[in-house]
Point group: C2
Chain length 456, copies 2
């Protein structure tokens, strides 16, 4: 609509400045040293929602980090869209690899460089500005509710409770989330599914104290060596995961579905070049698109033990640790997979060590029904602003709460993401395209418009 | 000798206080943050040698940490003993596992708890006090030279140069070192050999940046997983080391020699109980005494990569690292073994990662000739104060410079150690028995006396 275009053109600089301001708050949810900043960020989000015109805006406390809620009910008879996003971010380390401060946003070559720029501050804030656009131009076509949380990067531990306790307030017809990516601005795409997650931590203990590797080396099991052997055994020679029962409930796609997925544009040479690797790695018998979309995976997210400081120390460590997470696909249950992992990891431990397995968090995989009104509305919205049909793709990441929304609120979710896979999510130099940001703000109002129309 | 007994009885408290003072200086050679303390410790050693009566005492600068030299030449015609020791210590971490400050020595149950108490401040200082005893009682039977270095725990990188440049000053008939352990005060023993060392660091690089484990997981080689697989492959199912050529020059002992070694008192139940392990681990076909004495080993001293902080981070790391050291036995050459390791580690790396191998330091193994005058003198000295013959054993640790002394100065070394394997060397709560300390001070003068007599 022209009024939207005009309003956004007039306020585009402020839209960007406000995002940069939000990005300057280091709202790292995983590290308790940043708790104050997380709270500060929640307050900032509250203020912005109010300024945009939302009613009943509130910073709702939880057992962990707060959830910011706001709404605009223009007519109870109209459909309602619940917009979800998260204002918390991943830790910024390793800091030394950032070209500029992770919380000192810099715009370079058309990108906003900052932790959280794409995941998810830059993306949820598009909804705030799209809402402002519709509100100020008196063109809001349906009821809109906002729920912006602060624990997505640590597993949304308290969101489930919040949903249970606020069923009435959160009543809606669909959940709309921008926390995923599209292939490119030239090849817009919409995620039709997400992988689930099971995040574990393991501790392997050998001797009851660090030992001199000369005096005891060769006579006592070294927990670092044993942990390495255990981790090595979790993938076989075809990079299949060896945990018994792991694949039992994995939904196999039809040859046709796989063909459709693989039809999406993918340039392996460019992919390898972007990552700086000579060769890709993955489960035998599947393409890269399939390996990151429809197949479950197991990754070591962190490993440590013994002396890791400067110089050398001839120590035989007492303990070694690893953080290991698995991405899950329909119909794997993350609780069941977590149990299978724990059981297997304990089973393969030799008698010479003790093993402790801790479950960090997780979430179930999700597939979006492409025949739903909401998905069609998203499809039409993207077409309206990009001038071409979006490609349906399976996202490799996890937004565990998508399954939660279905379970607790009985709502389907539409994943209309505007980021790129190359945005360095969770990595140093995370970025988000300025053009992507504006394109999102431009596209979102159309979603509401089409969703309202198609719902009639 | 009675005069020694009397003098030592009279000054025993001061002997102990002086050691505690030395232990309060955190002379950690591996960590540059402690450089000032290492220098300070060298100055303290210099002062103590002077007070004890040594001449020409000097803190000799090197490209790294200084070497303290001192001597007492009573008659050029008499034999000369070169006493070696080191005033630097291992890093103290993990600090949280210490029951008392590593550099705040505490005496508990007859033990001195402090980093460096046994390795090697407590042991080299026995020689300073033994020297003081002989000097003050005018009973020095031979010439004595002291060389106390500050880089033993980081590979004595600059000692070789010092030896080359000071051949005249260091002229002697034998090197005497107390930096090893004995079985117990009830079962005194003398090391007849030491293992060599080859200390390596490896870096495995996958993608050129940390990645989101959901977006890229399953499609790109994870360097932590690959490193685990590579480390796991370094030992076969019998815990033999798989590096081609690794065992080629290993000296196999005769059945009789092995029987002698295994005759040394060893209580496996007590050994396991002390370490808190249910089962021992090691090379198939060899006893624990053999595994730690006459067999080469490979240990992971440290491993790290990815996110190792609080909470969870779904990252696919760009790099993973490990510090890996090998203990060597006659006639393995540490340079050759280092090259074999590097060559093998690069060879087993899959194309999907880049591998960098760095050699930290190393040293050759050493065997003491038990028929030498010096060894006999040590044997008699221990008998004189313990009232029984010492058991000859092979030590598992490494004092790389022993081979260096032979190469540069043409000198054999006698290893007369008074520590215990259970002294937590390189571990939290390192300790040294007060009785062991005094016993060493009591025994050392006899070594000089018998060495002088037997040399006639």
């Amino acid at each position: 609509m022209q009024v939207w275009k005009d309003y956004q053109a007039e306020h585009k600089d402020r839209f960007l400045d406000e995002l940069l301001e939000l990005l300057r708050i280091p709202s790292v949810s995983a590290d308790s040293r940043f708790n104050g900043d997380v709270q500060k960020c929640a307050e900032a989000v509250k203020q912005r929602l109010q300024e945009a015109g939302a009613d009943k805006v509130e910073v709702c406390p939880t057992a962990g980090h707060p959830i910011v809620y706001g709404e605009k009910i223009i007519d109870p008879a109209l459909p309602t869209v619940l917009v979800y996003g998260h204002y918390d971010v991943q830790p910024a380390d390793p800091l030394e690899l950032w070209h500029s401060g992770p919380f000192e946003p810099v715009i370079k070559d058309g990108n906003i460089y900052a932790r959280g720029s794409a995941d998810d501050k830059g993306q949820f804030y598009m909804h705030v500005k799209a809402f402002e656009t519709m509100n100020r131009t008196n063109t809001i076509p349906c009821n809109i509710k906002f729920m912006i949380e602060g624990e997505e990067e640590v597993g949304s531990a308290n969101l489930g409770i919040f949903l249970k306790e606020n069923k009435e307030r959160l009543k809606a017809d669909v959940v709309l989330i921008s926390d995923t990516s599209m292939i490119s601005l030239e090849n817009p795409s919409i995620d039709t599914g997400l992988r689930g997650l099971a995040y574990m931590e393991v501790e392997v203990t050998g001797p009851n104290r660090d030992l001199h590797s000369g005096v005891y080396g060769g006579a006592v099991a070294n927990p670092a060596t044993i942990l390495a052997k255990m981790i090595a055994s979790l993938h076989d020679e075809n990079n299949h995961i060896t945990i018994p029962g792991f694949y039992d409930n994995v939904q196999e796609l039809s040859a046709e579905e796989r063909a459709d997925l693989n039809a999406a544009p993918f340039d392996e040479a460019e992919y390898k070049n972007d990552l700086g690797v000579d060769e890709l790695w993955g489960e035998k018998g599947y393409s890269t698109i399939e390996r990151t979309g429809i197949r479950p995976t197991l990754e070591v997210n962190g490993i440590w033990g013994g002396y890791i400081g400067e110089g050398s120390k001839t120590v035989l460590p007492s303990k070694a640790f690893a953080k290991i997470s698995m991405r899950l696909v329909p119909n794997q249950d993350w609780h069941e997979i977590s149990d299978l992992f724990a059981k297997h990891f304990e089973a393969i431990a030799p008698k010479s060590v003790q093993v402790k397995v801790t479950k960090h968090h997780g979430g179930s995989p999700y597939v979006t029904p492409v025949d739903s009104i909401a998905f069609k509305a998203a499809h039409k919205a993207v077409h309206a602003t990009f001038g071409k049909d979006p490609i349906p793709v399976r996202g490799g990441g996890s937004i565990p709460i998508v399954a939660l929304f279905e379970k607790e609120l009985g709502l389907k979710t539409v994943l209309m993401g505007f980021g790129l896979d190359s945005d360095n999510l969770h990595s140093p130099n995370e970025k988000y395209g300025v053009a992507n940001y504006y394109k999102g703000i431009e596209t979102i109002p159309y979603f509401h418009q089409f969703f309202a129309e198609l719902s009639k």
